[in-house]
Symmetry: C2
Subunit: 401 residues, 2 copies
Amino acid sequence: MSTVVQKYGGSSVATVEKMKEIAKRLIARKEKGDDVVVVVSAMGKTTNGLIEMTKEISSNPCKREMDMLLSTGEQISISLLSMILKEFGYESISLTGFQAGIKTEGSHTKNIIQDIDIERVKTHLNDGKIVVVAGFQGINESGDITTLGRGGSDTTAVAIAAKLGCSCEIYTDVDGIYGIDPRVYPAAKKLDFISYEEMMEMASLGAKVMETRSVEIGHKYNVPIYVGLNTGNVKGTYIKEYDDTMEQNLITGLTATDNVLMVTLNNIPYNSNNISKIFCRLADENVNIDMISQTSPSTKYVNVSFTTCKDDEPNIDRIVNELKKDMTEIEYLKESDVTKVSVVGTGMRNQSGVAAKIFKLFSDNNIEFKQVTTSEISISYTIKTTDKDRTISTLAKELNL
Amino acid sequence: MSTVVQKYGGSSVATVEKMKEIAKRLIARKEKGDDVVVVVSAMGKTTNGLIEMTKEISSNPCKREMDMLLSTGEQISISLLSMILKEFGYESISLTGFQAGIKTEGSHTKNIIQDIDIERVKTHLNDGKIVVVAGFQGINESGDITTLGRGGSDTTAVAIAAKLGCSCEIYTDVDGIYGIDPRVYPAAKKLDFISYEEMMEMASLGAKVMETRSVEIGHKYNVPIYVGLNTGNVKGTYIKEYDDTMEQNLITGLTATDNVLMVTLNNIPYNSNNISKIFCRLADENVNIDMISQTSPSTKYVNVSFTTCKDDEPNIDRIVNELKKDMTEIEYLKESDVTKVSVVGTGMRNQSGVAAKIFKLFSDNNIEFKQVTTSEISISYTIKTTDKDRTISTLAKELNL
């Protein structure tokens, strides 16, 4: 007998009918002899409905009250799911975030889990109950109800699994994790396994299946995470520690992000303060910088390129014009209609020549790339958006994704 | 400077627009220099919407989960109302039942307040905040969310006022308490004052303005309760301790209940057990008995009449037929289309002749009455429903209601 934490998102529990299907899956697992904790999100569009009401009140409603409001969404799902389990003849109990002992800290609407007092969950599991926990929420030191922000229910599930020392299964409306988003490249292959680190790189590079935070917790506490379809029995993907027995591609995944603006500042007077001054000004104005590459400076000048979101263009125009008052020599170049393509793989850590192989692929196929940055397990390139489809299919084919 | 607890029901907070009007009233009170606690119910039809979902699950859903579900209704209202107050520039904080320290005991869906740990409310009041508390809910010793059943938000408000040692104002869609329901007798007079005891008699006799429980708490802790309209400035009714300076009618109020079934059992063999046996059987089957009158027994037999709700008729038929197997002499008579009329007044405690005066009114107007029962401050009669309107207008006119 083992314990499992399963998590179902909002579309899986959008109606009472859908919840009944989830209940049957939970019961089947319980009947196999496992102890079952289930974490659920708010029903389908509930959260949006609540947010709509706040728009009648304020464009920037109090965040503490926002948490109080939004946390009702999961409370509704857990009570209904628990009712259904009992109606099907199984012992069950629903627990809000605070009842499940989920203690959080940070700012309202984006709290992080500080600790979980897991005793109540354990007691109910020992009594043979299916424990239904509200995702996305907790309680802070002041006794206020808090929410965990984006991907919060995944985080709740993985954190509870970490405390219980068991595995976590995330059920969703995609059937696993792909090396490339299948909506972008339909021939994409589903992965059987991916390491925590690769998943984190891919998540932060824009693959939307799971938020980075929950994978981080899984990594830290070594919680095996399974991601699969919320219906049927299609085999999904395991996220776990990198393991030599994993069938390991050099490259595990590829992500692409459109709507990128590439900014280049040439002829920045070269002293130690100027680069820092530029990026501090951008940060002060909340301009989100992604890739940064600086080429080796000449004696007098240095050149920097960075990517950002196209929406920030007017902000950047304003900031650069201010900076030019002090640094009159700066040449300001922008390129829009740029796509960022990133390839990720733990394998590249131990193998040289991955960048070279990709450069050669680009060269053989006449794909022009503009900026390159690397991390230990990823390489990112910017290309023209018009080259995107060709780039993805070339890389996917040659790298066996 | 004093403190006040105000309570607004579901129709007062049915929309964000309506909540804004309530917020303005609260702010006006705060501006007068008072500390303000406000207790609110769930928005309009929210609770019904939640109950509808449970009907897809079970005809008898788990009551613990029902409390978990329904308590979200008030949580939504308090967060929105607090957001509005802040948007209007006033410090405010919303508290769920458990955050407001409301500890309950009893069975789920009909818990009673066991105690209130009022410290958090006091702290926020001292900080100058308008404290918005969820009505109808609390937390029990196991840490489960509970609800207080019918009239629960009134109970929350009066209990908090008792703890704070201040007065309580219940705002609703009626403009006060009338001696007779104005829908039944449009010329009914609104009362300026009514004593706790009279209000409790009237509430338990079917006047729906306030539930008996909240008036009981008000009585026990001597909390002055004001009942008035949730809009405008029409003067409402004060419920308070009986006071010789109150302008006191002999009779304060009159209530009428339709759909009554009057049952008479004649010729019950007279011994000490039989009457008890009959009423125990009825209680076992959850038949709700209201008026009971027993006439003085003969040496062999005793006669009993009681009233009940017409819906219980099939149950009573079955039970009486079972009882007749042992007590074959019993004669079983039923009369439906009966209305119960009750007159209530603390004044009658100290004055003889009230019953006589009413009997004479009935006699002068040829109104036939079937059963009579009395309490210290009330007299109830059963009459034919066809005589109801005539009876009410006669009594109201003659008793100056």
